[in-house]
Symmetry: C2
Subunit: 220 residues, 2 copies
Amino acid sequence: MLVVAPDQPQSGMSHAVTINDILRVKKSTLHEGIEAYSCTGTPVDCVKLAIYKVFKKKPDLLLSGINHGANHSINVIYSGTMSAAVEGAVEGVPSIGFSLLNHDEDADFSHCHATIEKVIEGALKNGIDKNTCLNVNLPDKEIKGIKICRQGNAFWKDNFEVRQDPMKGEYYWLKGVFTHLDKGEDTDIAALEKGYASVVPVQFDMTAHHSIASLNNWEF
Amino acid sequence: MLVVAPDQPQSGMSHAVTINDILRVKKSTLHEGIEAYSCTGTPVDCVKLAIYKVFKKKPDLLLSGINHGANHSINVIYSGTMSAAVEGAVEGVPSIGFSLLNHDEDADFSHCHATIEKVIEGALKNGIDKNTCLNVNLPDKEIKGIKICRQGNAFWKDNFEVRQDPMKGEYYWLKGVFTHLDKGEDTDIAALEKGYASVVPVQFDMTAHHSIASLNNWEF
């Protein structure tokens, strides 16, 4: 097992890569008996560094997380945790991202073990489809089971909290309200609301294939 | 017309949002006669600030770019320019991202005008499908026409250039080699290679729907 992790919080970092700055990697002794490295970059930088610099080969399995906080529905596009798993898929590595529906620093992960083991065992036994990875979200309390889902439709209705610095300069904090737009029973949001862990297969072909036919009728 | 743009380069910033830091917005006088603001955040922050703070309503059309450098194929997931357009789509705003296949600071954009006008006219006349936006890439020279495409399959085979700082500390620069995995004639890469501008409809449902049936047969 090899760990490569960012050296600071990367919330909302999405699929960002460090192009305009340098990267540093340090050996970490945080977990005894585990070969671990901390990196100055983003979660996706960590995947690239792990495969091409530290490990120097592709691992059998890439696990990202566990993230503090939900990465269901639209959050998949903002999430650094899930982007690391997507980057694994881009690299052809079977990859799974895990997130817990609890933001607390001291969140309890102990109820997640059995579910995480089942998903990993399933992935090792059955494989994960080429060019996909898995997005696993875990309820904060007792887990009733595992449901395969699609990404629910939702968005963040944003607002900005306005504050003044000591020099009377105005600044903002981003503060969104999660807004659910999907009553489907097959979504990750619905499964989590009912106490199930959600597993969504995620791809990186973002083409809206259903739109191509009508676009071909535009007159240019 | 209203412009909200990042105050520094945001290459590879993807769909990142600023959660752990403050945001500032300044009125810009860069372009005479155009109401413009610069923001300390990411391209996606700019979209959120424009809609919820500066403009305080949804615009009729959101244009992102023109980016210096290609955002075809897999680049769509790393691109800040395209993520701003995707964020517009999430917000229900007709959105288009434009990128030029030229990284130079002093790149010539003059040959792009007619093509960009055609795409914008098409979008205003026909509308853009709900929950999608358009990814438009423009060849560096004469544009032969416009082709509707799917996202080509490709990845960046990364390597890291190792350097030493004056204190003998090691650091890295990310340096990837673009690696094409898709011989399809209907991809954005193929269209651009033949001198056409590529238009790919992009969605933000990342579910790999084709994988759901087989995942439902995993035994948990």
